[in-house]
Symmetry: C2
Subunit: 448 residues, 2 copies
């Protein structure tokens, strides 16, 4: 039996970042990561395997350089049991590891709905497994009709990448909600995203629920609750993820309202020697501190930096999920941070909206000038920024992070209007038309 100061279960974004953070603040602690896979895909890169990167081995976390630079023991094995009384984990290879502090970072697995026929051999999920991902790509190259169930980020990115891979593939997205991506963007953005998908000859069937899948040997017939049917040679399930809790559950750790491992604001579970971070653990909204099920690598790493610091006695707490994400559809960037207008209203806020459309260079005669749209959502009662969305060129991917910081800092519309921003003809909108400022000023006309 080997003894470690810190044993981390799971070697993806959360586990790796926890280990690196502990090491930053403590040179001596003995740290082990136990991963049930040797090669860990970069989760956000998975859709881009299909039409851009192609080789799953080119989308891996650089585990060997990270573990050697940080003096971490990397153990490929599967934890089968946590013994809290003896502070041990037991593995499939019959090893046991003693921990002083244990970190649960075993992530999530794809949600599989309880639909008749869902277990068919032509139904695939997006698993974080390079070999499985390669098998999906192989299959894709032999079919003519792909159906993606779920029109969120992963579904939209997968549809576009499969289109890049194969110009002739029939691609259909089936989405339960009225619009793809409506959980993360307001209509100003999701309308453009849906149009960009349709322009790539991707069919969107919205407000449609799958009730049954029937196997016909080499293809499936998908029965929708509208009574429509869709034929598919291959079905990709992109409807989200569930926290990977069985091990924690079996160990008697408290499970929270979103079926994830409960943690306090220090990211400690109901056992003071066990932390959790990433997709496996419960999250609370930054805004109302109520449970929220958003799962993002950027949240996982923020949580991991809190866990790692707390293990190294550098006290940190989690202020809740802000929710910051970007994607690219049809060559345009769609970014969001904080609450959408719809989400803010659903939480009971009276909101004031500011919007601005400007050119991302100045003057507009500069090469590659493109339009950039910003929407900001403020709390009417105090003018505090609740969220923002951007549609436009790739610079939106970092501009959204200025908004993310303003949301996290609870900046007001009045502050936004007088912040100083770096501008440059080839890089940004002009200082007269800087979109965050102008959107804030629009809101200020209504606020107080």
């Amino acid at each position: 039996m080997k003894t470690y100061d810190v044993v981390i279960i799971g070697g993806s974004a959360a586990g790796i970042t926890t280990a690196m953070t502990v090491r930053k603040y403590d040179a001596t602690k003995r740290i082990a990561i136990i991963s049930d896979v040797e090669n860990v895909p970069i989760p956000c890169g998975i859709p881009y395997l299909f039409g851009t990167i192609f080789d799953p081995m080119k989308n891996l976390l650089p585990i060997s350089s990270i573990v050697s630079a940080n003096h971490i023991d990397w153990i490929v094995d599967k934890v089968t049991k946590i013994n809290r009384d003896f502070k041990l984990v037991l593995t499939a290879r019959n090893q046991s590891y003693e921990y002083h502090e244990l970190v649960l970072a075993m992530g999530s697995y794809p949600l599989i709905p309880t639909i008749e026929g869902i277990q068919s051999e032509n139904v695939y999920t997006i698993r974080k497994d390079p070999i499985y991902l390669q098998s999906i790509m192989n299959k894709l190259d032999s079919i003519s009709r792909l159906v993606i169930i779920g029109g969120g980020f992963i579904g939209a990115e997968m549809a576009e990448e499969c289109r890049k891979r194969n110009k002739d593939l029939e691609i259909t997205i089936i989405e339960m909600q009225e619009h793809c991506l409506q959980m993360v963007y307001d209509s100003e953005l999701y309308d453009k995203a849906e149009n960009a998908l349709r322009n790539q000859n991707i069919t969107i069937l919205s407000q449609e629920k799958v009730v049954k899948i029937s196997n016909h040997n080499h293809y499936e017939v998908i029965q929708l609750d509208s009574n429509k049917t869709v034929e598919a040679d291959m079905i990709l399930l992109c409807i989200g993820c569930s926290a990977n809790i069985p091990l924690a559950q079996e160990a008697g750790l408290k499970i929270g309202p979103t079926r994830s491992v409960w943690v306090d604001e220090s990211m400690r579970t109901s056992d003071q020697s066990i932390f959790a971070c990433g997709d496996v653990c419960e999250k609370k909204s930054f805004f109302n501190h109520k449970p929220i099920s958003t799962k993002l690598a950027s949240i996982a790493t923020a949580e991991a930096r809190i866990v790692g610091a707390n293990i190294a006695q550098k006290k940190r707490t989690m202020s809740g999920v802000v929710g910051c994400f970007s994607t690219v559809i049809g060559g345009k960037t769609f970014s969001a941070a904080g609450l959408t207008e719809t989400a803010a209203k659903a939480l009971g806020y009276s909101v004031v909206i500011g919007q601005s459309e400007s050119i991302n260079h100045h003057p507009g005669s500069m090469p590659n000038a493109e339009s950039l749209y910003v929407k900001l959502i403020f709390n009417q009662s105090d003018g505090v920024l609740l969220g923002g969305q951007i549609y436009g060129p790739s610079s939106a991917g970092e501009l959204i992070n200025a908004i993310a910081v303003m949301v996290a800092s609870k900046s007001t519309a009045n502050q936004l209007a007088t912040f100083q921003f770096a501008t440059h003809p080839a890089l940004t909108a002009s200082p007269i038309a800087y979109p965050i400022v102008n959107a804030a000023e629009m809101a200020n006309q209504i606020l107080n």
Copy 2:
């Protein structure tokens, strides 16, 4: 005589933004802008005329659409006198305009050092005048040796744009300091900038002071204090600007320590009915509230939004100059916000530095992946972010604005390390390697 609620002298970034801000908050005020030029160049775009845009008429503020959309009277005339007793301005065309509130936004003019021979016909400044700028371009096309005096932003941008315009031109920058751009960047960036200039066959003579310019008909001989001489067919002065204060001075308004119009934190001059904003007025540092002479369109517009709001009875105050700027040299972006390490030390701060170099996409196998370097400067005593610099791809131009917001919000290294940032394979570094976070964590290892 015509009467206005608000008369603004100057129609560039500060004047235009003041007028637009007043109009946002007050639909009824009668507003006039008096501009001594009909066509107002976009100031930051001027260098890009030379090798990118070419036509000065394609680098103009869209005055006509702004004034008509905002119901502003645009008067092309030159104010010759301010009569504070009668609250009047008098003009070169013998007009007089009565004001309730006057805004001084007449900007700055290029600094001309007192050097023998500086008035030679081959010595040019960068004036905000399309006709004059066209004449510089015409001249440039007929010469073979260009000397730029001053290696700050404008000098560096002018050198690169003149190189784009003419591959065979001999271009030399003469800089008094040890390095070009050393007032705005630390060595990690200015070394790269100087190399990028030299790689374009631009000669840099640093730590050299011009002592005399001798005219030899069609060319000039520049005498340096090292006793070297440099021949030039054309000399461009790029050594900065002076506030355009004669009118204010003559009107008896208080002038501040940087020879600019004194203002209080509401941007009011020593006359309660007169505001000033932009290059013409005194500025204070955000950090120590001492006078500072930084002149940027992004500061001017932030000040103008304070003036405009205060005129419309929506009280705002200026918190001081943060100093946010970007440029592009050799295809790479150089961005800064707040204090450099050198400047922070000069102000007496004990600083802690964090640095991170990462790839701007993830995985690194994504197309167009490039390295991105971030340096952060923290105050050792409280961990508050004092400044940041970025070198890398064009996304740095907006990423610096996340840093600008964190500086303005006085965020700590610990906050930076746990902020949530939007990441995406095609747009940003990975959440594990997000450079702001990792640079902050490096500083956190030293802080407390």
